[in-house]
Symmetry: C2
Subunit: 140 residues, 2 copies
């Protein structure tokens, strides 16, 4: 299970595609736990940190604020907290997520259409703005 289980910050950075400075920043922000240190004061990470940091980076890439990511991490950190709290945090995010999925799907469709039109040598009349503007495929 633990293929690399006692790695320095540079290795964690490499595995997650994160800048070393950013990892230290997340630590000061309390998004990543304070890691163990070697006698010389160097940070030591493990596989759990890789998973946690990957989650943070993906969450940010998906347009969630650090604060929202923090809330979602709270679900992982306190899996035995009250159902009410967990349910609240989870529900809060679902509507936003569904909207993002809808928007991305529309955007993807339009980019696809543009590429296909190009293949046929026709320059598409560009409807890319509509992809995120028109109320097509609304879920609610």
């Amino acid at each position: 299970m633990a293929y690399q289980d006692r790695m320095p910050i540079g290795e964690l950075a490499r595995l997650t595609g994160t800048k070393v400075n950013t990892i230290r920043f997340y630590e000061t922000e309390g998004v990543l736990h304070q890691p163990l240190r070697t006698a010389a004061g160097r940070r030591v990470y493990n596989d759990a940190d890789v998973r946690r940091l990957t989650f943070v980076r993906k969450g940010r890439d998906l347009g969630f604020s650090l604060n929202t990511v923090r809330k979602m991490l709270a679900l992982a950190d306190h899996p035995y907290q009250s159902c009410k709290a967990v349910d609240g945090i989870a529900r809060e995010q679902i509507a936003a997520i569904d909207q993002k999925i809808t928007d991305l799907t529309n955007l993807r469709g339009e980019l696809d259409r543009i590429i296909k039109a190009c293949e046929n040598g026709i320059v598409a009349d560009c409807k890319i703005l509509d992809a995120l503007t028109l109320p097509t495929m609304r879920l609610a």
Copy 2:
């Protein structure tokens, strides 16, 4: 077609859920065109600006940088540019979009699972980190 076709900045802000200052910021960044001005120097916007700004906001909310949004807007601004360029810009984004859709779908699934477990009075062993970490449902 033009229900509100000569609006001040405040109205554009209201319609798109954007801060007035942010609209002015997008103008200086060249993401929004320089609008017409009244004799007194006030900005005047129209429906096309509403659509464009909506696109920018959605794009940002989906985690794309202003620069990437700028590139996608270029598809709308120059629909008759060379197919090669259009195709390049479009293709560049599609892989990123697919990954985002996959990640969001996984995340949504896990939040759903957490909520359902809560309904049953069972506190779920939380696998939220896995939602964005495990290589399930990879497209490529």
